[in-house]
């Protein structure tokens, strides 16, 4: 099947749940297992939370959420026009966080990488960030 959606929302924390719901509803079209859907939902939650927490230090900005389905693979992109990630490799290090005083665990990227087949990060200082999560749904036996 082929499908796509494209939306944006204000980067406020209330919309983290909205992003998860939209992702779940979209990916559900591929009839994933409970675990597969849960993994994608969690990864998207991490990416969206990162955008909301880090991208716009001054005031909430716009976060884009888009999805594409091609065959049995879903691609979810989370994007922003915020401050960007100056050192992507450091940001990806497990437990590293740009906000050490805010009880952040620094596990976001680790979770995205573990739960998805591919994680793509395009970002640089002042240029915003685009995170693309790729997940192929196996279509094998499992609880649906």
């Amino acid at each position: 099947m082929e499908n796509r959606f494209d939306m944006e929302f204000i980067g406020i924390s209330e919309n983290e749940s909205l992003a998860r719901s939209i992702t779940s509803a979209f990916a559900a079209m591929l009839d994933p297992t409970v675990e597969e859907l849960s993994e994608l939902k969690t990864a998207v939650s991490e990416a969206v939370t990162n955008a909301i927490v880090h991208a716009y230090p001054e005031e909430a900005g716009i976060v884009g959420l888009s999805g594409k389905i091609k065959g049995k693979t879903v691609y979810i992109t989370v994007s922003d026009n915020g401050i960007g990630i100056p050192d992507i490799e450091r940001a990806k290090e497990p437990l590293y966080t740009g906000k050490p005083n805010e009880e952040r665990s620094g596990l976001g990227f680790s979770i995205m990488e573990s739960f998805c087949d591919k994680l793509d990060i395009i970002s640089s200082s002042g240029e915003g960030t685009v995170i693309t999560l790729t997940k192929h749904f196996g279509g094998g036996k499992g609880e649906r």
């Binding site: 924390s13 998860r20 849960s38 939370t49 009880e103 976001g108």
Partner: protein
Amino acid sequence: MSIIKTEKNTLIAEISGELDHHSAAKLRLEIDSAISKETKNIILDLTNLTFMDSSGIGMIMGRYKKIQHNCGKLIIVSPKPQVKRILEMSGLLNIITIEASIRQALKRM
């Protein structure tokens, strides 16, 4: 959503719904305002928690640090599979334990 109560020197928080960056902020304040000098242990009952991401890990870790000075224990009750998976990935299970019920958790205190 959370229900917080105290039993002797143990604070028990029943957390339901989803625990993400948004709900962790409110929950953090609710738990912290219920922690007193006498609070030694914390039990987080996650029986009705349907989702947690790494913001929840940060919140749990922060509460664990708060009871460290009293050599307290933090026990998690009955996490669902998705929640347990995130707990395992975080390494938190090296320092906190899981029990099947609040009653069993209280026995460990």
